[in-house]
Every structure is written in C-alpha cells, then in structure tokens.
C-alpha cells in the first residue's frame, strides 16, 4: 500500500480511489467531505444495531492491535474506544501518560517511534496541545485517530453528535444549531462547527466575549452574547463544559453569574423551538452550564444517547480505517 503523508492537511489520503472512505487517518473534521461524513454515519448506524445484540463481538478487526495513547485524562472517550476496539475483535492496549512526566517535541516523537516499532495498526491519541496528534501521525506508519488535541479538534465527538441528531431529526440539513459556552477552549465546538456547516446546518455560538476566540465568525457562524435571543428558534442546543478554574474571575467572574446568563435552564429553554433537543459532550457541571432539570429531561436531553452513539461511531471509524475495507 502506498501511503501519502500530507504535511498540511489534517487528513491523509491513501492512494486507493476505490476505497469508500479514502483516508488513512482521522485527525479532524476539517477537510472531510459530506460524502465522507455520510459514509461514516451510515456505517455507524450499522454498529448501533450491532451493539443492541446480545453477542456484540465480531471479527472485523481480528488480529489488529490498537493502542490508546492518552496524554490527558479521559474516562468516557478512552472507555468508548477500548470497547469499540474489543467488540471489533482487536487487541487494545491502554497507555496513559501523565502530561507532567512527558516533555514536548522530541520525547513525543521518541514515544511515537517506540510505539511504531511495535507495529500497531491504530493509535488513538489524545493530547493537551493543539496539533500534537497531527505531528505524531507524521512519524508513524499506522493509522492515527485524533481523540482530542488541545483546543483544536475532537472528530469522533462531532461524528457521534451528528449521528445522534440524524437519528432524531432525519437529517442535519437546514437545522438551526446553537453551541453555547466556552468556545475558546473547546475542541468539541470546533469539530462540530466544521461538521455541521459541511452537512448544511446553520450554527450560532452563544458565549460571553471572554470565551469566544477572535475572528471565529469567519468560520461561518453567527455570534450571540444573549442566551435567550441566541437559542430563539433553535432545533438543537449543544452545551459545552465550563471548567471550574475558569469561573473565578479570569474568563468569567463566578459560576453563579455564568449560570444566570449562560446556564441552560427551563426558563431560557422556552426561547428555543418546542421540540428543541439538548446535547452535552460531558462531563457536565450541573448548576454551572446546565440545570439538572434540563439535563435529566428525558424528552429533551440526548446526553445519554450521545454516549451510546459514541461506541458505534468509534467502531465505524476503526472499521473503515483498518477493518473490512469499508463494505456496508
């Protein structure tokens, strides 16, 4: 197999035009086409059904080795990838490396070289610095899946969000989606913005100016600083986690003030469409960005469904990258 490692694109195209999913890595949503995403979501649907069976094990990835390489703590993403790999019949190794014990640059590359020598088939990598997963992908032969890099991208989260929405609304096209909260530090927001716009949805961002990165409107989104006017007429409201250390007077003066103006509660939710659905990538800070009544409202909240879709989406990604050649 001839592999073209691109230095600039977040994706690396393999020279196999006949493949339905023509990429060697999944480093980000930016650069994917509508066709790629549709294909990934269709394949994910298959695994949703597969996961509802009693015997969830299959052999699509039998004999393959997946290494979960996490330079930042994670519970749900790591577990989700591990489960996905195991259900596909592969061997999964977890490596958690305390970010304090590693140094950037050379040592990351050294780690990559070491792992490369063990001939894994997939590296699932999370790193606290933007761009580090891409750097690592250039140093190894196997496929690399970005499980979140800094404030850059978290593609599987965007895909599982898209799958969740698609299953409820039929399609993403024409939907009004609001993404609320700490946009500045959010890789989930960036991946979702790319994906939603590619799929024809309209995106509004709602946040205080201190949590909006400069020139974000150039990505093709609308900006709102007022929650009620921001979610007016929305089909989907995606809440983002606001880390507690950012609520002590630096980005936001206090958690209570943040909740008053940007926390999603039943009162603010009335501004959205009556059938608007609520999403959150987790883990939630109840009482900071979301009220428990909203988070636990089984009619409106998709939060648990998102987790379920996560496993299916990750199985689809693994399968399409290194599994049974992408047949549905």
């Amino acid at each position: 197999m001839i592999k073209a490692n691109s230095q600039t694109s977040t994706l690396t195209s393999a020279n196999h035009q006949h493949k339905v999913y023509p990429h060697h890595h999944l480093l980000g949503i930016d650069g994917l086409t509508k066709l790629d995403i549709d294909h990934l979501l269709n394949r994910s649907e298959y695994f949703v059904k597969h996961n509802q069976q009693i015997n969830k094990k299959c052999s699509n990835l039998q004999g393959r080795t997946i290494i979960n390489l996490f330079f930042e703590s994670s519970t749900r993403t790591k577990t989700s990838f591990e489960l996905a790999g195991k259900r596909l019949g592969s061997d999964v190794i977890n490596m958690s490396i305390e970010s304090s014990s590693i140094k950037k640059g050379e040592s990351l590359i050294d780690t990559a070289m070491t792992l490369n020598a063990m001939h894994p088939d997939v590296l699932v990598v999370r790193h606290p610095e933007s761009g580090e997963v891409q750097l690592l992908s250039q140093k190894v032969k196997c496929s690399v899946i970005n499980a979140g890099d800094g404030s850059h991208e978290h593609p599987t989260q965007a895909l599982l969000d898209a799958l969740t929405i698609r299953r409820r609304k039929g399609s993403l096209e024409g939907l009004e989606v609001a993404i609320c909260g700490d946009i500045t530090h959010s890789r989930v927001a960036r991946s979702n913005i790319h994906l939603l716009l590619i799929m024809g949805a309209r995106v509004r961002l709602i946040a205080p100016p201190t949590l909006l990165p400069s020139k974000i409107e150039c990505m093709g989104v609308q900006i709102h600083h007022n929650m009620k006017s921001g979610i007016a007429g929305c089909d989907i409201i995606m809440m983002l986690r606001l880390q507690k250390e950012r609520t002590h007077g630096s980005f936001v003066p206090s958690a209570r003030e943040y909740f008053r103006y940007f926390g999603l509660d039943m009162n603010k939710l009335q501004a959205a469409k009556p059938n608007a659905l609520i999403m959150h990538p987790g883990p939630m800070n109840r009482g900071v960005e979301i009220d428990s009544l909203v988070a636990d409202d089984i009619k409106r909240s998709l939060i648990r469904e998102q987790v379920e879709m996560g496993v299916a989406v990750r199985m689809a990604v693994l399968d399409l990258l290194v599994g049974g050649q992408g047949k549905i």
Binding site: P208, P209, T210, H248, G249, P253, R256, E257
Partner: protein, 429 residues
Amino acid sequence: MTTLYNNARLLDPASGLDMIGALVVHEGKIAKVSNKVFVDSSRVDSDIIDCGERCLAPGLVDMRAQVREPGNEHIENMSSAQKAAVAGGITTFAPLPNTNPVIDDVSLLEFVQRRALEIGLANVHPYAAITKGLRGHEITEFGMLADSGAVAFTDGKHSVANSLVMRRALSYASMFKRTIVQHPEDPYLASKGSANEGQTATRLGLSGIPSAAEVIMLERDLRLVELTGGNYHAAHLSTAAAVEAIRQAKKRGLPVTCETAPPYFALNEDAIIGYRTFARLSPPLRSEQDRLAVVAGLADGTIDAIASDHDPHDPDRKNVPFSQAAPGGIGLETLLTISLELVHTKAMKLIDLLQRLTVAPARILGLPYGTLKVGGDADLVIFDLNRIGKVAPERFASKSRNTPFDKRPIEGRVWRTVYRGNVVYDVEK
C-alpha cells in the same frame, strides 16, 4: 404641588437654551419651561420663587466622588456627602467603590443604594469594582452588579495594571453595556512618587510621578479598546499628553470619553509649595503647560466632563509629612464655583461649561439627568454667577476639610438646589 421658579436665566445645555423666563415644577417634575416672566404673580395659583435673574440650570451630575461609608464614616458618611453635594449644586453623584469593604458584590452595592435612599437628598448611582477587592486580578460579577444598578465599573484610585485583566474587563463589560472607568496611571512609574516630576518636586526634594505615567496607561488602554470594542472612560486627566491621546482616539472613532476635575484646570504644581498636603492629589497637580492643555481640552470638547473628584481625608492623614500624606482633596462644594472661573476668564461659555457638568457626565453613565426637559425630574441648581466670595471650608457640610482651594477668592455662589421639586439646599438657611 406646583412651584413657579420665576424670573430666572434658564440654561439647558442639552438643548442650548439660554433665556430669561420661568420654570414650572409640578409633583417633582418639570412641567413647563417658559420664556415669559410672570409680572403679576398674584394671579398664579402656585408657590412662587423669585430667582432674581439668577442662573437656573439642571442639577449638576458628578461622576466621581468618594464617600467613606461603609468603613470610614467619620471621614464622610452618606448623609454628610449628600449634604455637601447639594450645597455644591450637585443633585446626582456616582460614588467610587473604594470603601471598606470594597463594593465588589451585589449585597454591598445594595447597602450603598439603601443608605443613599434613606438620606434622599440627591440621586446616588454607585460604581462597582472592576476587580475583586480592587486587587487587579479577578473581575467582579459585572452582570449581576449591572442588573442591581451598578452605573459603571472602576477600581477607583487604582489602575487596572494587568493588560489581560483589562482586556477581559472591557470585553466582558461590553456584554452588559457598561463603561469601564480607569484611573490612568502606571503604578510602577508612580510608585513612591508624591508630586509631579519636575522643577517644583526637585526643588522641594520630593520624589516625582512623571506625566508619562498617565499617558502610558491611557495609550495601552486605548489599544485594548480598539481590540475589544468596549466602552472606556479615563478619569481625572491631568496631563497635556493624555488630553492629546484622547483627542486622537476620538478622531479614530474609538468609544472613549474622559473627564477632569477642578484642581487640574485651576491649579498647577506650585500649589504644593510649602509642602501643602491638601494640594497632594492623585494624579498630582501638574505643570502650567499641562493645566493649559486641560483648559484647552475642556474648551474644544476633548474632555467630556468635569467631576468633583471628591476625596475626603481626616487630619490624621493630612497633618503628616508631605510624602506620607494621603493624596486627594474634597471637591463637592467647590465643583461649580471653581469651574465658573473658566467662564470668568473667558476660556469657556457658560452654557458649554454647564454641559460638561450636567448632561455630558449623565450621558457617559447612561443616566437620564442633566436636562431641563419637560417631564423630567425637577433636579435644579440656581446660582449667582457673579457674587464675590471665598472658599470657606469651616462652613462646609462635608465632614472633611482637605480642600486644595482653601480661602481661594471665588466669583459665583450656589443659591438654591432643588431635588425632585424640593429645595434641598438654600444658602440663606
């Protein structure tokens, strides 16, 4: 209840009105502004106050005054501050948050508002702090404070020195349509200085604060305003360079305003000669050239407003060596009379001066005061333009005496102050 203020020179800087006439107040509101003087007042069914052709203007709006309540009520409490304000013709003022404790929380803001209402002689619209405890690190709850009536945000006599904090404050405050009011002074250049750096300080052997300390902080802030689009107001400008920086910023269309205070256009650094601690101010009194630039800035509108910069201190903090004395001077009761010097020296027209003292600061703070509009609150000042006198602190309503204008000859005197239709100050009583 209806009151007729007859035979007055009516001055309304918001509309440019300047004429002899009468003003009718009904139920605390301005009911009529007339160019007729009632000759036969027996036919008028209301109380009549004959103003004797004195000037009648909107009550002054003072956007920068310090009240020492809570914390140091013996220096100035809400009652003495309101009495001093109305004695100076001021019917609205904005106290700074640098009390003890600092006004950085909704409950403290509400305390000040409640105390102000209990006294009830003037409108009081308090500021809240930009940073918790005025420490310059963490921004306060702008949203909740603004919703509770914080008129704007300022760290009082402290500069927000950290550029990142200032950037976020400007950015975050813009969401709630509030202005950030800065004391523009680089704290590192100003540290240990007690007088304007220059000839006078050098001869007196005092360590100086260079005028650059003001413009450096101001120009940094102007860049941050450009970056964030936040509303910004520079308080008590004292230097030629700072006035010029604001002039250029306004030409560029930045959303900035500024104010100065009477000491900076009526005095220069020579007022400290003899180590007069009452003339130790913050920012320090500057050179004559700076003073002239402040006057020019006021005249051409670069400087939007004049505030009292009322900063009371007890003798324990002023009867000490100059470098140890607390900077600041009182100003509520001399705001109008000292400002009138600009009219008497023909630097400004009376109507323009009144604009800087009434509607201009009201607009900066987003308050509906400072006009003689029919239907508005009857907050008025009636003053003699030409009556000769002297600044007499022993007769002040303020609890403190530290005025830099002690015994200064003045031309002009507040005759009556009216707040919501009630006479709250009468010079003859």
